[in-house]
């Protein structure tokens, strides 16, 4: 087996960048540029502006409302997670109050690309699976938002549960990964990451596909309503994929 053939065979066992060869001590030009391309995709995902109109356009028949977090711009957002978790004071009044069972919050997080590509399909697939008894609030499209912003939104609207669909921290091999965080009875400033359930890596075709993710999420929502809560207790009754993941 020649050198190249060996590495070709081994690369089928891992996505790690192995067997790259050398130019002196350094990487060959092609591999150096490939790494830079992957890094550029990840960077662009972090800094690409969120386009709520595009997401709203993919939610025909579903009312939407737009909010910002208290973080005024991307640079502040990246350094001040506390601001990304709170509603902008003037935007709170835009939120319709009602007797909602659940509100879907589409949050740009760290990858608006993930949100543009996957969030609307996830909202529709999940909402389609919920029974008649779920009163679904208008979908909230949130800019410069972290997961915990959903707590503030749900409290402002009077929703019993919140599902935050958020762009995950981009890795070099995945810049468009979407996370879904379910919180029942959220309480801003009191609810912690341990009170949530998470599905991560929603990213067809390489990651979780919409139908599987929506089925898991809708199932979790039904059980959360029975239990009156989310987090560790709920995890214990779900399959191993329904795990609590570290939050951004």
């Amino acid at each position: 087996m020649a050198n190249g053939e060996l590495w070709t065979a081994l690369r089928r066992r891992t996505q790690a960048r192995i067997g790259l060869g050398r130019a002196g001590s350094a990487l060959p030009t092609r591999h150096r540029l490939e790494l830079q391309a992957a890094h550029a995709a990840a960077r662009d995902a972090v800094h690409s502006p969120f386009d709520p109109d595009a997401v709203a356009g993919r939610l025909p028949g579903m009312p939407t409302v737009r909010v910002r977090s208290a973080a005024p711009d991307r640079l502040t957002y990246l350094q001040r997670p506390d601001l990304g978790r709170r509603l902008h004071p003037t935007d709170r009044a835009h939120l319709p109050v009602g007797d909602w069972d659940v509100v879907f919050v589409v949050a740009d997080g760290l990858s608006s690309r993930a949100v543009h590509e996957h969030a609307a399909r996830m909202v529709r697939s999940t909402a389609d699976r919920l029974g008649e008894t779920w009163r679904v609030a208008p979908v909230v499209l949130a800019e410069q938002a972290r997961v915990a912003l959903g707590d503030d939104v749900a409290a402002a609207m009077g929703a019993k549960a919140v599902v935050v669909l958020v762009g995950e921290r981009p890795g070099m091999s995945a810049a468009d990964s979407l996370g879904a965080y379910l919180t029942y009875a959220p309480n801003p400033g009191v609810t912690t990451d341990a009170d949530r359930n998470c599905l991560s890596n929603i990213r067809p075709p390489l990651g979780l596909d919409y139908e599987t993710a929506a089925a898991k999420l809708a199932g979790l929502m039904e059980r959360a309503r029975e239990l009156g809560g989310t987090g560790v207790r709920l995890k214990d009754e779900t399959d191993p994929d329904g795990v609590v993941e570290p939050l951004l």
Binding site: M1, A2, N3, G4, E5, L6, W7, A9, L10, R11, R13, T14, Q15, A16, R17, I18, G19, L20, R22, G24, S25, A26, L27, H31, L35, Q36, A38, H39, A42, R43, A45, V46, L78, Q79, R80, P81, D82, L110, R169, P170, G171, M172, S173, A174, A175
Partner: protein, 464 residues
């Protein structure tokens, strides 16, 4: 507690406590701003440094930043302080300590003898008065030598951690990345895997895989699967081949509690690992990771700035004579260290503070993709830390960790650093590289063919 004051630009600046003073004197970083501890202006920052320069070192022994009663790390620092070792600098202020450290009087032997007399707060304080070049110049003089199956930290040497992570811990994927690293001359500090799960079964499988390769090819190095200390204790009791016990640690009791560790647990694990006697040239059995921001992230910083809290983690580490300690410098994200400039500064501070306190400091020179940094920042940091005499660096395939989704140094980067600075691997590992035909006539790593080299058997079996 007496306030600290200074006058700058006609304005009187006042800092109500030593903790406030240290925080205000810290170079700009996003984590201190997030915690509400950063200086309010550039002038206030410099005013704090003027005041800090006048503080007698003995103040750090009489005014603990976190109360003795509340925190076992404070108790550890004060109870183990070596007054005799401290004597040569006992009369100095922080500003005078900076000048003494930079002077010829502070040579390698003197600094090694001083280490038990210094506290984390003293070294953090003096680091705030030092420029990046100062941090390099002093750290370079300090040598901390440790050993297990290889010897780490000798002058003119740079070791590497080979990190063959895989998102599902697939043994074939791990072995393929392991082969890649070995053929690039990496792995003398440790072959260390971050497993995807902390399940004892998964950890044990990986330990046995690594142990098998190390034994089969008689590689003078050690393995580590980076799991929680309680998992290691459990596995040692069941006879798993544990070389090094790993744990993430931090600088306060509450932050350590958030990691699920206590000094008592670490004592127990340390004793158990030493009892196994698996080392050949030494028996330093602990491997610790740290990083600025972890105490703030756990809401356990007690109003102390993130660099000073980080230095306090080194007091925990040195209790156990570790083989390896590394700061995972850019891992937590831009809310703690915003960009390449802040990450570089933190790397130099951590390395300096750890070395002065007597630790074998290495680094995971890294960033996440939402920080403002790129591969040029890795090169800059690597070069400065190489000059500063880092004991080891962490290396990943192509600098891209597919399990943890962050960017680190690559095996190629380590080759570069050894080449430009004339650094060599750990002596036992270097001899092994020679014996297996991987050294060229100049002592560099030879490029080998997949058809002939015996190590590629690791991969050929997988690829078949």
């Amino acid at each position: 507690m007496s306030p600290y004051t200074s006058t700058l630009g006609g304005e009187r600046h006042r800092f109500d406590s030593l903790a406030r003073l240290l925080a205000a004197a810290s170079p700009e970083r996003s984590g201190d701003r997030l915690a509400g501890l950063a200086a309010r202006s550039a002038q206030e920052r410099v005013a704090a440094r003027w005041a800090l320069a006048e503080v007698p070192l003995t103040d750090f022994l009489t005014q603990p930043l976190i109360p003795y009663e509340d925190d076992d790390v404070t108790r550890l620092i004060l109870d183990t302080h070596d007054a005799a070792a401290f004597a040569p600098v006992a009369a100095l202020t922080v500003g005078e300590l900076r000048e003494w450290l930079l002077s010829e009087a502070a040579d390698a032997v003197t600094l090694a003898a001083l280490a038990p007399g210094l506290t984390p707060e003293m070294v953090a304080a003096v680091s705030k008065l030092m420029g990046n070049a100062d941090l390099v110049a002093v750290a370079r003089k300090v040598r901390v030598v440790t050993a297990f199956r290889s010897t780490i930290g000798l002058p003119g040497r740079l070791a590497t951690r080979l990190q063959p992570n895989h998102p599902t811990d697939d043994p074939a994927g791990v072995a393929a990345a392991l082969l890649d690293g070995l053929l690039l001359g990496s792995g003398d500090a440790v072959i260390g895997i971050n497993p995807a799960t902390d399940s004892p079964k998964a950890v044990r499988d990986l330990l046995e895989l690594l142990d098998g390769v190390i034994e089969r090819y008689a590689i003078p190095t050690q393995s580590c699967v980076l799991c929680h200390v309680t998992t290691s204790v459990d596995l040692m009791e069941r006879g798993a081949p544990v070389d090094l016990v790993f744990q993430s640690i931090a600088g306060t009791q509450a932050a350590n509690a958030s990691f699920g560790v206590t000094l008592g647990l670490l004592d127990e694990a340390h004793e158990a690992a030493r009892g196994l006697g698996r080392g050949t040239v030494g028996n330093d059995v602990m491997y610790f990771e740290t990083g600025q921001g972890s105490a703030l992230s756990a809401d356990a910083h007690h109003g102390v700035d993130q660099q000073t809290v980080e230095a306090r983690a080194y007091a925990v580490a040195r209790r156990y004579d570790p083989l390896l300690v590394n700061t995972v410098v850019g891992f937590i994200g831009p809310e703690y260290l915003y960009d390449g400039r802040q990450i570089l500064r933190a790397a130099l501070e951590d390395h300096f503070c750890g070395k002065l306190l007597g630790l074998p400091m290495g680094l995971d020179i890294c960033y996440t993709n939402h920080a403002d940094a790129d591969d040029d920042d890795i090169a800059t940091m690597l070069t400065m830390l190489g000059v500063a005499g880092a004991s080891f660096v962490i290396c990943t395939p192509g600098g891209d960790d597919i399990m943890l989704n962050y960017q680190s140094a690559s095996y190629h980067d380590a080759l570069y650093l050894r080449e430009v600075l004339g650094l060599r691997p750990a002596p036992e590992f270097e001899a092994w590289l020679g014996s297996i035909g991987l050294l060229d006539e100049r002592g560099g790593i030879r490029e080998v063919s997949g058809t002939t080299h015996p190590l590629t058997a690791i991969g050929r079996e997988l690829a078949a």
